[in-house]
Symmetry: C2
Subunit: 583 residues, 2 copies
Amino acid sequence: MILDKVFYPVDLKNLSLDEMNTLAGEMRKLIIEKVNTTGGHMGPNLGIVEATIAMHYVFNAPLDKIVFDVSHQCYPHKILTGRKEGFLNPEKYNDYTGYTAPEESEYDLFKVGHTSTSVSLAVGVAKARDLNNDKYNVIALIGDGSLTGGEAMEGLNNAATLNSNIIIVVNDNDMSIAENHGGIYKNLKLLRDTNGNADCNFFKSIGFDYLYVNNGNDIKSLIEAFNKVKDINHPVVVHINTLKGHGLDVAEKNKEFFHWVLPHSLDDIQNPQTDIVEDYNSVTKDFILNKLENDKSLVVVTAGTPGVFGFNSEFRNKLDKHYTDVGIAEEHAVAYCSALAKSGAKPILNFMCSFVQRTYDQLSQDLCLNNSPVTMLIYWGGISNADATHLCVFDIPLICNIPNMVYLAPVCKEEYLAMLNWAYSQTKHPVAIRVPSCELVSSGIVDNTDYSVLNKYEIKEQGEKIAILGLGSFYGLAQSVKSEIQKVLGINATLINPRFITGVDSELLENLKSNHNLVITLEDGILDGGFGEKISRFYADSDMKVLNYGAKKEFTDRVPLDELYERYHLTKELIVEDLVKLI
Amino acid sequence: MILDKVFYPVDLKNLSLDEMNTLAGEMRKLIIEKVNTTGGHMGPNLGIVEATIAMHYVFNAPLDKIVFDVSHQCYPHKILTGRKEGFLNPEKYNDYTGYTAPEESEYDLFKVGHTSTSVSLAVGVAKARDLNNDKYNVIALIGDGSLTGGEAMEGLNNAATLNSNIIIVVNDNDMSIAENHGGIYKNLKLLRDTNGNADCNFFKSIGFDYLYVNNGNDIKSLIEAFNKVKDINHPVVVHINTLKGHGLDVAEKNKEFFHWVLPHSLDDIQNPQTDIVEDYNSVTKDFILNKLENDKSLVVVTAGTPGVFGFNSEFRNKLDKHYTDVGIAEEHAVAYCSALAKSGAKPILNFMCSFVQRTYDQLSQDLCLNNSPVTMLIYWGGISNADATHLCVFDIPLICNIPNMVYLAPVCKEEYLAMLNWAYSQTKHPVAIRVPSCELVSSGIVDNTDYSVLNKYEIKEQGEKIAILGLGSFYGLAQSVKSEIQKVLGINATLINPRFITGVDSELLENLKSNHNLVITLEDGILDGGFGEKISRFYADSDMKVLNYGAKKEFTDRVPLDELYERYHLTKELIVEDLVKLI
C-alpha cells in the first residue's frame, strides 16, 4: 500500500501522480469500511479524497492553515495527518472524532460541527497572520450546502476585502445534505455549465479572484489549480466540481441517503428493512398529511436537514408546494415562517435541537416579538453521547426565556398529537414542541387537554411529602423515581407532568405546599437557565425544599450516556440516595 | 400645504409630480423638526422621503405589502399612512414608535428593529399569497448596511428562487450606520458607476431580475421604475441610489453623526460641547490606546455600530489596521475574533447588548467550544425605556448559560479596568464584560483582584441575617437596600459584589448559611434563566430563603424606567416592604 509510507502531509511530496491516485483508492476503501462499520459521513468524505490529497501535496500544513467547514468532510484529512490508524485498525475506529479537533492534531485548527463558519474563521486567521507579518496560506474548504448559511455569506463579504492571501475552496458537489436550494446554486450551475467562464459570477461580483476546476476529483487538475493560487496575495475562490459519494456506486446514486449513514448501511441496503415502525417522526408525518387533506394553508419548512425528521423524498413530493426546504439558512427559516403565519398560512417549522441555536435573535425578534403563530418542532433534544459540536442540551435555556414563546414537552404520543393539533390550530402564540427523543410511548388514551390555558401542569398521581416534576422525555425517569421512593422510603410521592416548559403553574405549585416538603425536578438538558431553576426560584422564599436534576453546563464529547447519567445523578437509585441524605 | 390633503396613500394618487415634490419638502421639514426635538433616526429618513412617496403612489398598500428593513427609515411612511399628527403636532411627537408597529397601523406588517430581516419576511408573505392564490405585490425595502447581515443574504438566496412576485428595493446610500464594509458594497459601487450596466452583478448572479435608478431621490424616476416592476411575476431587485441625509446640509456632510441623533443635535452642532466627560466609553478607549502602544497584536472589532461605543473616526483612525468594522455581520464578528485569538492576535469585540442576541450559536460553537480567549464588551445592558425591538435585558440568560464563557459584571471604573486588563491578558477563556450602563462610578482604589480565580464573589461589607448580592449596575441599588434595611429593620445586612455572572461561589454562599437566613439577588435584566435563579437553585435544598429581583420575561415598549422599577420592585422601599412581609 502507498499508505504504508504516508503518515503526514510531508510524505506526499515525493509521490508520483500515479501513486497519489493509488493512494486515493486506498483511502476511499478505508473510509467505506470504517464508516460502514461505525456509521458517519460517507458521501462528503468520498467526494473530497482527491482534493484533500492535492491540498496537502501543494500546501504545507500545519504552517499553511486549512479550515474545514462543518468539518464532516475531514476523514481523508485525518488519514493524512497522523491519524490513519483510526481508519486502518478497527479497534481504533472510535479513537478520533468525525470532525476536526485541535486536541487530536495540530493540523486541525478549530472544533467545528455546525456549518458555514469556515470563511469567517479563515478571515481571522489571515488577519492575525498579517498583523504578525507572517507568511503562510490560509485556506477555507466550504461546500456541501454550507454556502447558504448567513455566517458564510457574512464571511465571504469580509474575506473579499482582506487585501491579502485567503483561498476559499468551494467544494461544489451540487448537493447539500439533501438537494440544494437557493439562487446561489443556480449560479454555481451556470459556472459549471460554462466551465467557470460565465460573466455573471457570484464570487467575482463581491470581489474575489476566481478559478474553476471542472474535474474536482482529478488530483492532477487540482494540483495545478492549487499551485496557481498558492501564495497568492489577494482573496481567491477555487471552485471545484466534485461528485458526492465518488467511487461508491450506491452513494453516487443516492447522495442524500449516503450523506450520513448508520452502521452497516451498505449491508442493509442489500436487504432493506420493510418493517414500518411507528415513531414520533412517523406520527408527525401522518399528522401533517392528514391536515393537508383539508387545509391548503399548511407549509412544512426545513432548513437543509429533512432526513433528521424522516422527511424522505416520497413525503416531500406529497407535500409538493406545501413544503419548503430553505437550505442551510436557519435564520431565514424562522423569519419566513413568522411572515407565513402573519399572512394567513400555517407553517410547521422543523429543527434539529442543536441547530435551533442558530436562530436566537430570529426567535426573539422576527417570531416572538411579532407573536406569530408558528408551530416549531424541536427534534433530538436531550442528553446524549453526541459529539461536542452536536449537543442537544441547550435548547431549553435558549427558547424558554424568550417572551411570548410557548414551549411544550409532551410525554407520550397522544399528548404530542394533542399539543401539535393545538399549536397548529391556535393563532395566539409561537409554539415550540420538544418532540420526545426517547422511544415512542403510547398511553392509549386520547388527550383532550385545552392547551390554550397556558402553564397548567398535570398531577398524574397524587401522593404526599415529595412531588416529582418529570419534564418531557424524563417523565419515564420520574415514574421510576416514584417507584423507588415508595420502595426505599415507603413514601407515596406525587407525580407531575409539567407539559409547559415556558411557565410556572403557580396555583399547583402553591397547593403542593400544603402536604409536600420536597419537590424534585427532572429535565433532559442543562440545568443552567432551564426549567428546574424556575421552580427553585418559585419556592425560594418558602420552606419547600427543591432538588433540580439535569445536565451540567459543559461541552461533553462522545461521553457514553450511562456515564453522563451517572455524573448527573440521573438514575432512580442515585436520586433516592440524594433524598436519603437530605431527609 | 399639500400634506393637508394627504392622510393615506390613496390621497397621493391624484397629486401631480410637482405637488409630490412639494410634499417631499414638507415632509422633510417635519422630520427634521420632529427628530431634532425628540431625537431619532435623521439621515435614513431624509434619504428615503421620495422613494416612500413613489412607492405609495405606485403600489396600493395595504393590499400591496411593504416590509421595511430595520424599519428606522419608516418616518415618511408613517406620515403617509394615517400618522402625520405624530410629526405635525409636538404634543403627539411621542405617540408613535420610531419603527414599524402593526399595533399602530395596518400599513405596518411587522415589528422590526434589528437589521437584515426584510427579505426573509417578504418571502414568507409572498409564499402565503401564492398558496392562497391572492394577487398583490410584496416589496422589501432594504439598505443602509442591512444587506451584509447573514439573515439578509439567506433571504436573498431564497427570494431569488420564488418564481413569483417579490420586489426587493435596495436603498443604496453608500453607507451603513458608519461607512460600509465588505465585498458586496464594491459591487454596488460598480453598479452605480456603470448606471447599473456592469456584467458582474451580485443580484443577477443569484437569479434576480434587476433595475437601476440612478437618482433615487427623484420621484419621477422612482415612479417610472416602480411602475415597471409593479405586478411583475418573478423576483426583481430595484437598486436605487439615494443620498443619506438628503436635503439637510449638515446631515449630508456628516452621515454617520446624523444617522441617529439625540434631541437638539442640530442646535448643539452650532455650539459644540467641548467638555470631555469621563465615562465607560472613554475609559475603554484609553485602555485600548494604551495597550496598543506596546502590543501590536491588538484588534478592536465592531459590527457596524462603532458610535454606540464612542469609537469615532478619530479613534478608528488611530487604531488603523488594528481596527476592523465587519459591517452588520455579528455572526462573522464572533467567528473572526475566535480565529484571531487562536492565531496569536488579541481581539476586543464590542457589541451593543441587544445585538449580541444575533450570535448565540457563534458564541457557543465558534467561540466557547473552541475556548478562544476573546475579550467581548457588552454595552448598554440593563432595564430601560427602550423600544421593544432594542431591549437590553436578555443578555445574561443568553451568554451565561454557555459553557466555558466567563461573563463579568464590574461595579466601578477600577474594577472594570482590572477585569478588562485580565480578560485581555489571559489566554484560557472567552471573557465577556458587561460594561456598566449606569454613570461612571469611581472607587478611587486600584483593583488588584486576580480574576483568573473564577467565580469568587466579594464581600464588601460583612453583616448578618440578610445578604444582598448586587450584580453589576445594580450594585448601587444593593447599597441603598442595605441602608434601607438598616433604617427600617435595624439589621446590618451583608453586601456582596458577585462580579462573576457565569458561576456560583459555592464556598462563600455555603458560609453565608452560618449567620444568614435570607439572600437577596439584584440583577439588571430578566430573571428567567439569569443570575438570581442560580442562587435560588444553590440554596433550594437548604433552609436559606432567597428573593430574586430583576425584570420580568416580557417585551416592554418604551415604558418609563421608573414605571418598570416600580413594576419589578426594583426600589429600596419596595424591596424592604417585601422583606417586612416575609419576615
